[in-house]
């Protein structure tokens, strides 16, 4: 397809979305629950292309953003321990905890190493047998199997000084929280592409049925996103609610069974805290009893370390993550809080909603109508 053909197809899809939405006689609101979709939507300018009665809102799809302050505080406390080396994805460094960030801890001499894969922690552990190497295991269903596989690899290689500080998050339970939240209103979900690669499409079915809210799994190209929106609007117009897959080349109904099995071997569902949403029952993963020798919180509990009291802040990231306010409603957006000097995690992470608004908006468009 040439650029021109793509654009014409996009315009046709938008027309059809409008025609279908007009039939419902009300304003429809759809949420994307994947940070990469957030960026892809802003990048292609899809929000400003849509008719007035179809609105997009971003959800809690950025793993760094949903990780609460107390996890960062714990990570920083471990980082400051002289026997610990932290391995982490780079975007965790700038996330503020209550008092400081991992980046500041690193500047102050903590041994923190940025890795591309959790597996990169293994050579670090081998090279530093007298240290405890702690990987900051955050992320959604896509990332959990990579941490789990790393634990299995460490076990196989007899490595005893590699540990996880786990804060994995699961998508379906938080979708349910949003659906039960009176302040949040959504008519359907753009379901994550790469989470679904691992989980398959079945995990969304119980929620879609229970709440009668449609969901469509899709990819990251503008046309894929528009086609998913068309399918969502069509379902609403027809009074349907089912899970559809607009990313069939990549997402199989059953997902990746090996990944699921490996995650399940090492982890079990557990309650976990989300920024802006508090503790959500069974929305995270903790290491099973059989793998507790790899869980830093079991091996070296932090009880002795005093965690700082929660701070007061004007940052509205917690509400931004639930789609209740737009970044523009935050008094700090674009002023005190910009990507080069981020106050909150929604601006720190490239997948953060505030960062996407800033990078692709910057006053050029009136987003979020």
């Amino acid at each position: 397809m040439t650029k021109k053909e793509e654009r014409e197809l996009a315009q046709r899809l938008v027309k059809e979305i409008k025609a279908m939405a007009d039939k419902t006689g009300r304003k429809l609101r759809f949420m994307e629950v994947c940070g990469t979709h957030t960026v892809a939507i802003f990048r292609a300018g899809i929000r400003q292309l849509l008719p007035d009665n179809v609105e997009l809102v971003s959800g809690p799809g950025c793993p760094v953003c949903v990780t609460p302050d107390d996890y960062m505080d714990k990570a920083i406390a471990y980082a400051q321990h002289p026997d610990v080396i932290i391995t982490t994805f780079g975007d965790m460094l700038k996330v503020p905890g209550t008092k400081s960030s991992l980046g500041e801890a690193k500047t102050n001499g903590a041994d923190i190493r940025i890795v591309y894969s959790p597996m990169d922690s293994i050579p670090v552990a081998k090279d530093n047998p007298d240290k405890k190497v702690v990987f900051l295991a955050v992320g959604f269903e896509t990332t959990a199997p990579t941490a789990a596989a790393t634990v299995l690899a460490a076990e196989q290689q007899g490595i005893k000084n590699l540990f996880m500080l786990s804060a994995h998050k699961l998508v379906p339970p938080v979708m349910e929280v949003l659906l039960n939240d009176e302040q949040v209103h959504v008519d359907g979900f753009i379901l994550p592409g790469h989470v679904s690669v691992v989980t398959g499409t079945g995990i969304y079915e119980p929620i879609v049925e229970k709440y009668h809210v449609p969901g469509v799994v899709t990819g990251f190209e503008p046309l894929q996103i528009l086609r998913a929106l068309y399918r969502l609007v069509k379902q609403v117009a027809n009074g349907e609610a089912k899970v559809e897959n607009e990313y069939e080349d990549v997402v199989r109904p059953e997902g990746n069974p090996v990944s699921q099995r490996i995650t399940d071997t090492v982890y079990e569902p557990a309650d976990t805290g989300w920024r802006g949403m508090g503790i959500v029952p069974l929305s995270g993963l903790r290491m099973r009893e059989t793998y507790k020798a790899y869980d830093i919180e079991q091996v070296m509990p932090l009880a002795a370390v005093e965690l700082p009291a929660p701070k007061k802040t004007a940052c509205r990231c917690g509400e931004v993550l639930r789609g209740i306010v737009t970044p523009k409603e935050c008094p700090l957006f674009g002023k005190a809080c910009v990507p080069t000097h981020a106050i909150g995690p929604c601006m720190v992470s490239v997948e953060g909603v505030c960062a996407a608004w800033y990078k692709y908006g910057q006053g050029r468009f009136e987003y979020g109508k």
Binding site: T36, R43, T142, T143, F220, V250
Partner: protein, 85 residues
């Protein structure tokens, strides 16, 4: 963070795959995708091959990834591209 990047598998040895991502070769774990073979295109996330995919899914995602890694915008929005011709 969930973004997965397409890569071509060049060779596999002991569950370690040598793959090519945007012209750069690197090693990834094949632990989560034991069925992949050399020549396949796979999605790579956090150093692991996650799924076998078509070659055509590759390009657009690489551009998106570059922008997510801090590169400036490389495409026009759909509206802007219409204004050019």
């Amino acid at each position: 963070m969930c973004l997965a990047v397409p890569a071509k598998v060049l060779e596999i040895e002991n569950a370690i795959g040598k793959v090519e991502i945007s012209g750069v070769s690197r090693e990834v774990s094949m632990m989560l995708l034991p069925e992949a073979k050399p020549g396949d295109f796979v999605l790579v996330h956090a150093g692991f091959a996650m799924q076998i995919v078509d070659e055509k899914d590759a390009e657009e995602n690489n551009a998106l990834l570059a922008e997510m890694n801090g590169a400036p915008r490389t495409v026009d929005t759909i509206e802007e591209s219409a204004a050019h011709d």
